[in-house]
C-alpha cells in the first residue's frame, strides 16, 4: 500500500524528472529558436485543485530584464540549501542545461548574452495569457497574489497604486496578502482594500492599539474548487513597521505570530477545510521554519525574498512554492485532495518569456490605458549604459553602485548608503536608460535622499544591525532584505560571527584610511524609515547624475570582503 508520504515523494520525484528532462529539451529547442508558448505552458492537469501563484510583481506591468542573484548566502540550517544556491551550482542541482531558457530565467551567469537571445521577461498581459490557459484547463483554479504588487514604478507612485489595482482586477485574483502596499499609507491602503473585489488576507495583520486582528484583513477565506473545500490563510510581511516606515501605518501591527497561525489552521480544519493553503509574504527561510512549527498546512505559497525555484521544497507534509518576482514567473500547482488529505501534487514554475508568450489583448489594453497619461515622462531617455545594471545579490549590484555614485557626487558626501531591497529590474549593456528605468529601481513613498553626519562608531552599528537582519542564523530574526549597499566605504564581513563582531576593517575608499570610530563623516543615503526626513527625491538625484554622465559605465566593485560563506 502506498502511504501518503510515499505519494508525496513519488510526485516529487516525478516533478523532478519531468523538470529535468523538459529543461534539457527546451534548452535545445530554444537554441534553435523554436520555443513555443504551448511548450512553456504544457501541463498535464492533475488531481482536483489548481493554484496559480504570482508574487512580488513590484508594479512591473511591462516586460523587463531581471537578473537573478549570483550571491545569496544561507546561514545556520539553511547554509547550502535552496534558495541559497546560485549560478552553475543551481543549474547542476536541478539538471538545467547551460544556455537553456531555464538557465536564463532561473539562475545567474552569462546574463547579458542570454538576455539578448531570449529577450525580456514578464508583462502582466503575458501573465494574463498564462492564467487564461490554466483556467481553460481548470476553470475554478485559484489565483493568489502574494503581495508587493502596489509598489515599484513611476505609474504606481503617481496613481498611488491605482494602476496596479486596475490591472490586477482584470486578472481576477481570488485573494491577496501584503507588504509594500502599506507604504502607500494606511488611509490609501484602507481605501484600496475596501474596494477590492477579492479577499485581502492576513492572519498576522493586527490593530496596533488593541493587539487584536484587524477587521479589514480577515485571516482566511474558504473556496469551493473541484468539489474540495480549500482554506486560504494570508500571512503578510511580519516586519513591516521595522523594515519600512511604521509611521505611515501606525494603526497596524504585524509579526510572525505562528501561534495564531496554528490556531487559524486548527480553526479552518475544524470548519471542514480539506486543503489548507498559506499565501505568505514571510520570505522563504521564515516559511521553512514556520512549516516545521505549524502543523496542518498543505501548501505555502512563498513570497518576499524573490526566490524562483523549479520545484517545491518539502518540510514535513507541507510543500513550499517560490515563484520569483517582478512578474517574471507564474507557478501552477495542481493538487490531488482526497478525504481531507493531499495525496500528491504536480508543479511548474512558468517563466514569462515575453517574446514567446502572446499578450492578452484585453489586459494589454488596460495596461496601455493606465500608462497613457504618463507615456512622455516614462519614455524620456536620460542616458545609456555600457554595463549590465542589476540589483539582486547579498552585497552589491551595479544599479546600487550607480545610485551610490550619484549620492556621493550629487550630495557631496564621503559615504553613501543605499537600501538592500530586492526589487528593481535590470538593464543590459547598450540599453537606453529611461526615466521609467530609474523609477523602477528607486520608486517609493519615502525616497528622499538625506545627507547627515555619522560617526565611524555609528556607521559600524548600522552595518552590524543590517547584517544581523540578513545573517542571523535563526530565520525568524531575518527581515528578508539584502545588505545595505555602501559607496565610498569598504569593509570585511564574517557572516558566521554574532551581531557586533561581523564587520571589521571599515575603510574610507577615497583615502584608504581606516574608519575612525570617533570621527564624523558626511553620509548621504535614501529610504530612511524616520519621519520628517528631508532632501531631494532619490530618482531626481540619480537622473541628474546619469544626465551628466551621458553613458554610464560601472566598474567592478570589490570593496566588500566576505568571509564564512
Amino acid at each position: 500500500m502506498i502511504s501518503r508520504r510515499d505519494f508525496l515523494q513519488t510526485s516529487m520525484a516525478a516533478t523532478a524528472i519531468y523538470g529535468a528532462s523538459s529543461f534539457g529539451q527546451w534548452g535545445k529547442l530554444a537554441a534553435q529558436q523554436a520555443i513555443t508558448q504551448d511548450q512553456l505552458l504544457q501541463f498535464d492537469t492533475f488531481g482536483n485543485v489548481s493554484l496559480i501563484h504570482i508574487t512580488d510583481i513590484h508594479a512591473q506591468l511591462k516586460p523587463i530584464y531581471f537578473r537573478e542573484p549570483s550571491v545569496n548566502i544561507g546561514v545556520g540550517d539553511n547554509k547550502g540549501q535552496v534558495p541559497h544556491v546560485t549560478g552553475a551550482d543551481f543549474r547542476k542541482m536541478y539538471g538545467i542545461d547551460d544556455g537553456s531558457y531555464a538557465h536564463y530565467a532561473m539562475s545567474s551567469g552569462d546574463f547579458s548574452a542570454l538576455a539578448k537571445g531570449y529577450g525580456r521577461v514578464g508583462g502582466l498581459d503575458r501573465v494574463a495569457t498564462v492564467i487564461n490557459q490554466i483556467r481553460s484547463e481548470r476553470p475554478d483554479a485559484l489565483l493568489l497574489d502574494g503581495g508587493d504588487t502596489w509598489h515599484g514604478s513611476y505609474t504606481c507612485y503617481h496613481t498611488q497604486g491605482q494602476d496596479m489595482v486596475d490591472v490586477m482586477n482584470a486578472l481576477k485574483p481570488d485573494a491577496m496578502t501584503f507588504h509594500w502596499e502599506f507604504t502607500l499609507g494606511s488611509d490609501r491602503v484602507n481605501e484600496l482594500v475596501e474596494g477590492l473585489p477579492f479577499a485581502a488576507l492576513g492572519q498576522n495583520i493586527f490593530d496596533a492599539e488593541w493587539d487584536e486582528p484587524a477587521e479589514l484583513f480577515p485571516p482566511y477565506k474558504f473556496f469551493e474548487t473541484g468539489g474540495v473545500k480549500v482554506a486560504v490563510i494570508g500571512q503578510a510581511f511580519p516586519y513591516m513597521p521595522i523594515a519600512n516606515p511604521g509611521w505611515m501605518f501606525p494603526e497596524y501591527a504585524f509579526g510572525i505570530r505562528d501561534e495564531n497561525m496554528q490556531e487559524m489552521v486548527d480553526q479552518v480544519r475544524a470548519e471542514g477545510a480539506e486543503c489548507v493553503v498559506v499565501l505568505s509574504h514571510n520570505g522563504f527561510d521564515v516559511d521553512k521554519k514556520m512549516a516545521g512549527i505549524v502543523t496542518g498546512i498543505d501548501v505555502i505559497l512563498s513570497g518576499h525574498t524573490h526566490d524562483a525555484l523549479p520545484e517545491p521544497v518539502l518540510v514535513g507534509d507541507t510543500i513550499i512554492v517560490a515563484s520569483g518576482s517582478n512578474g517574471k514567473f507564474v507557478s501552477r500547482v495542481d493538487l490531488d485532495i482526497q478525504n481531507g488529505r493531499m495525496m500528491g501534487f504536480r508543479h511548474k514554475l512558468i517563466p514569462i518569456l515575453s517574446d514567446v508568450i502572446e499578450p492578452d489583448k484585453e489586459v494589454a489594453a488596460v495596461i496601455d490605458n493606465v500608462r497613457a497619461p504618463f507615456v512622455d515622462q516614462l519614455s524620456e531617455v536620460i542616458g545609456q549604459t555600457d554595463s549590465l545594471l542589476y540589483r539582486r545579490g547579498n552585497f552589491n549590484g551595479t544599479w546600487d553602485d550607480l545610485i551610490c555614485d550619484a549620492l556621493l557626487s550629487e550630495r557631496e558626501a564621503d559615504i553613501a548608503l543605499s537600501p538592500g531591497v530586492r526589487w528593481g529590474p535590470s538593464l543590459i549593456p547598450g540599453d537606453d536608460i529611461t526615466r521609467e528605468d530609474i523609477w523602477n529601481v528607486t520608486s517609493m513613498t519615502y525616497g528622499k535622499a538625506y545627507r547627515t553626519e555619522m560617526t565611524g562608531e555609528f556607521l559600524h552599528v548600522v552595518l552590524e544591525d543590517v547584517a544581523d537582519n540578513l545573517f542571523n542564523p535563526d530565520p525568524y530574526y531575518q527581515q528578508g532584505g539584502d545588505m545595505v549597499r555602501t559607496g565610498g566605504l569598504g569593509y570585511r564581513i564574517d557572516i558566521t560571527q554574532p551581531q557586533g563582531s561581523r564587520i571589521t576593517e571599515m575603510t574610507l575608499l577615497s583615502t584608504g584610511e581606516k574608519i575612525d570610530p570617533a570621527k564624523t563623516y558626511q553620509v548621504a543615503g535614501w529610504a530612511s524609515v524616520n519621519e520628517g526626513t528631508e532632501g531631494p527625491q532619490i530618482w531626481d538625484v540619480v537622473e541628474d547624475h546619469i544626465r551628466k554622465q551621458g553613458t554610464v559605465t560601472v566598474s567592478p566593485n570589490d570593496s566588500v570582503t566576505v568571509v564564512g560563506a
Binding site: Y239, I242, A253, G255, F458
Partner: protein, 138 residues
C-alpha cells in the same frame, strides 16, 4: 513642536542609538529570580511566554504569559536597568491564568517569565526580543 530637519536627524539618530548589541542579563535580574524562587531549581514546563521576535517599537512591546497551574508568574526584562516588569498572582478560582501587557525594552535582550506552580515547583520560559534600527526590508 515644529519639526525641523535638524530635529528630524537628531530624532532619527536617537532612535538608532537604542539599537546595537544585545544587552546581557544584569546581576539585578539574577537577584530578582533568586528572591522569587528562594534559590529553588527552575525547570521548564507549564509556562508559555508569547513575545515578538523583533519589536516593532521597543518602547511598547506586547507580551503575554499563560499557565494552567501557576499561582504566580514573575516577568523580567533581563537587560533593562530595572529588570522587574510584573508579578501576576492567580487564586484557585481564577478562570484563566494568563496575563498580557506591554513592556519597554532598553535594547535587544531576553524576556523571562518564571511561574510558581501549585505544587511549589518553578518553571521558566524565555524569549529573545530584538530591538533593531530597521530599514532595508526586501
Amino acid at each position: 513642536m515644529e519639526l525641523t530637519r535638524r530635529n528630524a536627524i537628531l530624532m532619527g539618530a536617537g532612535a538608532l542609538l537604542v539599537a546595537g548589541l544585545p544587552i546581557r542579563a544584569s546581576a539585578a535580574a539574577d537577584e530578582a529570580i533568586a528572591a522569587f524562587t528562594g534559590g529553588a531549581e527552575v525547570g521548564t514546563g507549564d509556562i508559555t511566554l508569547t513575545a515578538p521576535e523583533i519589536a516593532e517599537n521597543g518602547n511598547t512591546v506586547p507580551i503575554e504569559v499563560s499557565s494552567e497551574t501557576a499561582t504566580e508568574i514573575l516577568v523580567l526584562a533581563t537587560g533593562n536597568p530595572t529588570p522587574g516588569v510584573a508579578n501576576f498572582k492567580f487564586g484557585k478560582l481564577a478562570a484563566s491564568r494568563a496575563a498580557s501587557t506591554r513592556i519597554r525594552l532598553a535594547g535587544t535582550q531576553d524576556v523571562v517569565a518564571i511561574a510558581k506552580l501549585e505544587d511549589g515547583s518553578f518553571v521558566q520560559a524565555s524569549s529573545a526580543v530584538k530591538v533593531t534600527i530597521g530599514g532595508c526590508g526586501g
